[in-house]
Symmetry: C2
Subunit: 338 residues, 2 copies
DNA sequence: TTGTATGCGTTATCAC
DNA sequence: GTGATAACGCATACAA
């Protein structure tokens, strides 16, 4: 457990100057083969690897892509972060994943700016924000030429950012049409209304209903993003007079709660209700859950992000744009055999 | 989107020298109040925050704790990482969460040393490794006085590391005793055998069975950590002659697969089988899963880690020790009403 | 080809 | 109480 060796020690061991040793690691040529070998073997012997942070400090910009993960508890986001990292790696682009710190003060969630500054101070050559941040202002201190790419969420307050996400309008439409094709008319929606994201999906639901000629069956119930809230909301919906025959949840978690409520009620003699979710969390494919849901094409999102970052000029060309990918309907038992 | 301001610009705006401005941020006293105010307001105006990495470069050590997250897909680990971050924050200790890069080469999983070096080069004052790394050698380049704490897994190859984890022997024992108390004798075990961790749980299962006088009913089936493998393994177990009446899975994921297999078979007329998992993933409490499992006391682990790091001398005193916390049995329907 | 000097942003150590 | 200087590890522009 010794201190990490510096380039100076490598140079000393190899019997050359620090600058020569530095050149071995920074540029391909400019050093005679024998001396290069000496340096490399000395580095190997000492276990030396360049300190990339000192390097980016000196260079004014690092050679890595910062991936900022918004919520460690959301499997959709962790998955996209990891897939993005892999996609970048395949193109030879190193990256660094770090998690945002979210603090709760009297019920409201706040991003700790320090955790963002930490990553920015590392001077990434590009920044990928995975998941919706309540506030993107801290990123204003980024240099103009560092592209910011936001995955899965609108880029609130950052006009220059590139957004890569699934087309939620299409996703919700796929669900509504699927349910309609199964004969459902009374299709309700359960979800939050506290963000651009959630408001968008709710609006998409209403629009889909109108387009399907089901305007008069529109019925929404506000609920936060958890299973519990979905359960409570479904209970409310299903104990009214004109109960829906199908329910779309804002996300899988909510849908799980809805499923539970439906499950309880059917055991008590109520008619079955079709349930659909959103995100295709790995839980939704468990045999006993088997939830019809929407796959946001996580891998496609990751690959698209990697493309934008690694293709020269792409980031600049797409600046401020929103790239919408086509989501995919995953049909399972929760709607087929409710 | 401008470049982040440096302390120099702050000093210029405040009309003082760089060193004076620096003192304002590093030490409480030593600067006259009026000048201090000037510097602070200049900093606020420019949106200046000190670059902590340049700071640790200069100081030789940073003031943050590095949290290394082993597997972004494992909800147990992401949860512990987040809880640890929170526990440290409550003690006023900043931390930085980053994810390890795992590469797969011909089936074997390798840790990318670069992703570890990245974090080490930041010079954390302590390091928390969440989840078992196949290889801890890269940490040998850490200075002696930087404590390494490994959560949930043995510290393979790092004698100085402190291990904080649930007592798996106890956890498995709790499950076995619970099942035995329900009248089960033929209790089987499904899980991998490729790591210290998994071998430990399997051994604990065997020992518990012996202690319960159920030696002749010992039956294990090797399966990797996924739902699929659990499903397949359970199918094998349940189609033999002398089928078990209860199955313990190495983790929740495997248990989900076992549940599915049991589910299929009971529908085909086979007798019900009790199923138990391990980790108390949030999925296990879903109404339709309702899996009996073991809570590793994630929060207690996180708090313990924060204590060791923040209490002066604690890390040194515990060096090389393994701290085992008592796990807790969570009884749900999968064993009560299989 | 090689060595030397300088600076990235910060802070500790000196002088003043 | 204040300001100049060196140094952390690295890379580059320059001179040798």
């Amino acid at each position: 457990m010794n201190k990490r060796p510096t380039i100076r020690e490598v140079a000393d061991l190899a019997g050359v100057s620090k600058s020569l040793a530095a050149m071995v690691f920074s540029s391909e040529s400019g050093v005679s083969p024998d001396r290069r070998d000496k340096v490399l073997s000395a580095a190997k012997k000492l276990g030396y690897t360049p300190n990339q942070w000192a390097r980016s400090l000196r260079a004014g910009a690092g050679n890595f892509v910062g991936i900022l993960l918004n919520d460690l508890h959301n499997p959709l986001l962790t998955e996209i972060a990891d897939l993005t990292r892999k996609a970048l790696l395949e193109k030879g682009q190193p990256s660094f994943v770090s998690a945002v710190v979210i603090n709760e003060r009297n019920g409201k969630r706040f991003v700790d700016p320090a955790s963002i500054h930490s990553l920015l101070d590392l001077r990434p050559k590009a920044l990928v924000v995975v998941g919706g941040l309540p506030d993107l202002k801290p990123f204003k201190s980024l240099p103009e030429d560092v592209p910011v790419i936001v995955a899965t969420s609108p880029a609130a307050g950052l006009p220059g950012a590139i957004v890569v996400r699934a087309d939620d309008d299409q996703g919700i439409r796929l669900l509504a049409e699927h349910l309609h094709s199964l004969g459902h008319k009374k299709i309700a929606y359960v979800g939050p209304d506290d963000s651009q994201n959630s408001l968008g999906r709710m609006a998409a639901y209403k629009k889909s209903m109108v387009d399907l000629g089901l305007e008069k069956y529109i019925r929404t119930q506000v609920a936060d993003r958890t299973e519990d809230r979905g359960f409570a909301a479904a209970k409310l919906l299903l104990q009214e007079n004109d109960t829906p025959t199908a329910i779309i949840g804002f996300n899988d978690n909510i849908a799980f709660g809805v499923q539970n409520a439906v499950h309880q009620l059917t055991k008590a003699g109520f008619p079955p209700v079709a349930v659909a979710g959103y995100d295709n969390t790995y839980v939704s494919e468990l045999d006993r859950i088997s939830l019809t849901t929407i796959e946001q094409e996580k891998e496609a999102i990751a690959i698209k992000i990697a493309e934008i970052i690694t293709e020269p000029g792409a980031a600049l060309a797409q600046r401020g744009k929103e790239i919408k990918l086509l989501p995919r309907l995953i049909v399972r038992n929760s709607t087929l055999n409710p």
